[in-house]
């Protein structure tokens, strides 16, 4: 699983932000994770908590907002939430969809001082 590698990227980015903004302590890192990324929130939390020890982020926890998959239909123009394994417009059954949400793997914000 690549959650550990992802956790380390998060720590790197946050450390960069701490240096840049002169932060002393991070209480939480808030993430947005799309349902299509295949990232397991529990494994990521475990990997993050195991990796922050002995870093300036020690004690920080993750806040994970899971983003459902949303698609815009090119046939009927409607936007809807879809199941991540069924790329079909629930309104007109077209499969000509553009994913507008669900592929995020972003740090949204930090809580820190």
């Amino acid at each position: 699983m690549h959650e550990l590698a992802v956790a380390r990227e998060i720590i790197d980015i946050v450390q960069g932000e701490m240096d840049r903004r002169g932060l002393r302590r991070i209480e939480a890192v808030a993430l947005r994770i799309g349902a299509l990324t295949g990232i397991n929130a529990d494994a990521l939390t475990f990997g993050f908590e195991a990796s922050v020890v002995d870093t300036p982020l020690a004690g920080a926890h993750l806040i994970i907002e899971t983003m459902p998959v949303r698609a815009a239909c090119r046939s009927c123009g409607k936007e809807s939430e879809i199941e991540p394994y069924l790329f079909i417009c629930p309104h007109c059954a077209s499969s000509d969809l553009e994913i507008v949400q669900g592929e995020e793997l972003d740090i949204d914000h930090l809580l820190g001082e």
């Binding site: 699983m1 690549h2 590698a5 992802v6 990227e9 998060i10 790197d12 980015i13 932000e17 903004r21 932060l23 002393r24 209480e27 993430l31 299509l36 990324t37 295949g38 990232i39 991540p84 394994y85 069924l86 790329f87 079909i88 499969s95 000509d96 994913i99 793997l105 972003d106 740090i107 949204d108 914000h109 930090l110 809580l111 820190g112 001082e113």
Partner: protein, 224 residues
């Protein structure tokens, strides 16, 4: 003590990887080299497909391969034996996927300026490699008839992000409960635009179509 404040970051976690991948893509665009990222579960036949391709197309086209494995360079040895002249191995030492930095490092050791196609054989895994852009033009996902025909539904991200699907080991059809029509339907539910090849690297079924596609796609990149 200072007050806890909320600081908006809004940054992609894999932005560093994406930057390196963008550099690779730009370089390969200048060199007009078609880059294909081959992904699948372990044992679907990525190395077999490349062995055949190197042996049978190595004279018509200039082919380069970066091959990733968790341990050993066995696959690289197989590909060199099959006739591969530009083969570079990446041993990830435990990591379950290739990332753009590994590919950049491998590229630095290779002389591929004259190549037509660069294959990147990813680590056998249908989950993790889907998150990592390697600078490729497209992903080619393989599955085999020895697996479940619901694989596309179980790993939608990979099938959604791939442009080509190879269903390998068609010589084994009938030996298991694998229903190829069902497999293709599942794959098209996830990604209607998939170009699908039915293939047996053992008997050669589907390989001529694959070679023709490879030549055509590489040709369009040359003329781009």
């Amino acid at each position: 003590m200072a007050k806890i404040t909320k600081l908006i970051i809004q940054k992609k976690v894999l932005s560093k990887n994406d930057e390196i991948a963008a550099n690779i893509r730009e370089r390969l665009a200048k060199q007009k080299i078609l880059a294909l990222n081959l992904v699948s579960s372990p044992g679907s036949g990525k190395t077999s497909l490349l062995e055949k391709t190197l042996a049978e197309m190595g004279r018509d086209m200039r082919l380069a391969v970066i091959v990733g494995d968790v341990q050993t360079e066995n696959d690289a040895a197989r590909l060199r034996k099959a006739g591969g002249k530009r083969v570079e191995a990446i041993t990830t030492d435990g990591a379950c996927h290739l990332d753009a930095a590994m590919v950049e490092k491998a590229l630095a050791k290779m002389n591929i300026a004259d190549a037509d196609v660069l294959f990147i054989e990813n680590v056998g895994n249908l989950v993790c490699p889907s998150s990592y852009d390697l600078g490729e033009d497209m992903k080619v996902v393989l599955m085999s008839t020895a697996e479940g025909d619901d694989k596309p539904l179980k790993y939608p991200a990979m099938f959604r992000r791939s442009s080509v699907l190879v269903i390998n080991k068609t010589d084994l059809l009938g030996q298991s409960d694998f229903d190829i029509e069902h497999a293709e339907k599942n794959a098209r539910n996830i990604n209607p635009d998939l170009r699908i090849f039915r293939m047996s690297c053992r008997t050669g079924e589907g390989l001529p179509e694959w070679y023709a596609w490879l030549k055509e796609t590489s040709g369009s990149k040359k003329n781009s």
